[in-house]
């Protein structure tokens, strides 16, 4: 790689990585809330619209997650703080790996579920996505459970991920949160003071 500042390149995330991270964060939280709310509604045009929006956001998250994985593969992520213990590193890597897996698996199971219910997904009401499976009631119900369980797993991981970032910032006083949250001052100096 022809990077003039190799040290800089690994001490912070690229603007693209930061942008994608927060965009996906907002979209999955929004989609999660919409999904949870819409399933309990009585049938109405509003409910049908919410289902479509939920699916469109899901497809967007899937595409952005793919973009993030490609970006991550082409651009090295900044190294973890040297003070982290080996088990903490393992947990951090495992959490991130699982988060990426779920960012793909959650929308994918939603898409499969929609196909199995006999409702093709038409992205933004314009681009019809192929049906990956045929209409099948039992499969649709099984996928509903899988979609639900994966969402709950994603929620737990996101909470763990956020709690870890906050802990790094306020307890460890390192730059783990600051490098992903532009504007936040790294608290490296605090520890040295």
């Amino acid at each position: 790689m022809m990077n003039a500042f190799p040290l800089n390149a690994t001490s912070r995330y690229t603007r693209t990585a930061i942008g994608l991270h927060w965009l996906v964060a907002v979209l999955i939280l929004g989609s999660f809330a919409v999904g949870l709310y819409m399933v309990g509604l009585k049938v109405s045009p509003f409910k049908l619209r919410l289902f479509s929006y939920h699916k469109w956001i899901g497809v967007t998250v899937f595409l952005l997650a793919l973009a993030r994985i490609v970006w991550r593969w082409r651009h090295r992520a900044p190294a973890l703080p040297a003070a982290m213990r080996p088990w903490e590193r393992i947990v951090a890597h495992a959490t991130h790996m699982l988060l990426y897996v779920l960012l793909l698996a959650v929308p994918l199971t939603g898409w499969l579920m929609s196909s199995a219910h006999g409702f093709p997904v038409v992205y933004f009401g314009v681009i019809p996505l192929p049906d990956l499976v045929g209409k099948n009631k039992e499969l649709a119900e099984a996928l509903e459970t899988v979609h639900y369980v994966l969402n709950k797993s994603l929620l737990i991981l996101v909470l763990l991920h956020a709690a870890a970032a906050i802990k790094h910032h306020y307890y460890d006083h390192d730059d783990v949160l600051a490098r992903m949250l532009p504007g936040l001052r790294p608290r490296l100096t605090n520890k040295e003071n």
């Binding site: 619209r49 006999g118 409702f119």
Partner: protein
């Protein structure tokens, strides 16, 4: 309305033997497609009766009468099946059947005809022209056709559902009715 339908159906059933052909319901199908948030949604009606009298030599003497049991709808989701029965949609309690009664058949080309008639749903009658392909193989006659109706012309989907941005006004109706000559069943 209800008694009219019953008498009408009874009259057709009584006349059926004279046609010398029975509808093979296992092979016949009446389905529809509409767009919901621009997503094509397909459905069928599991129960219907059809009386068809077709004479290729004298198309103008041909007749068609179809009665669809609206409670037998299959929209692919229980939400859709239940909702469609309500007052704002088919109002099945008051209008259990949709009927089609032909009043003319015109030849369009080889095997192709246009059946014009009256489609009545939810108490609203509309004139429709249905292009049909009619093919005979041995003792079997197949009637295949499709036509598009506007649901709001029949008041199907009232109130909040009248919004066509969510559920489109156009509904395509497709059918295949297979008739077998009595004694020629396979």
């Amino acid at each position: 309305m209800k008694w009219g339908s019953v008498l009408f159906a009874a009259g057709l059933l009584a006349a059926a033997p004279a046609f010398g052909a029975d509808v093979d319901y296992a092979a016949s199908r009446i389905g529809f497609t509409f767009k919901q948030m621009n997503v094509p949604v397909e459905g069928t009606f599991r129960r219907f009766t059809a009386q068809l009298q077709f004479d290729a030599a004298k198309p103008d003497r041909s007749r068609a009468a179809v009665e669809v049991d609206l409670a037998s709808i299959d929209t692919g989701s229980s939400d859709g099946d239940d909702e469609s029965q309500h007052k704002s949609w088919f109002d099945v309690e008051a209008f259990p059947k949709a009927t089609f009664q032909s009043n003319g058949v015109r030849r369009l080309g080889p095997d192709r005809y246009e059946i014009s008639g009256t489609l009545t749903i939810k108490g609203h009658a509309q004139d429709v022209a249905v292009p049909v392909t009619i093919q005979r193989h041995g003792g079997t006659t197949m009637f295949d056709g499709a036509f598009t109706i506007k649901r709001l012309a029949f008041n199907i989907g009232e109130g909040v559902w009248a919004d066509t941005d969510t559920v489109a006004d156009e509904v395509q109706v497709r059918f295949r009715i297979v008739q077998r000559e009595t004694g020629a069943k396979t």
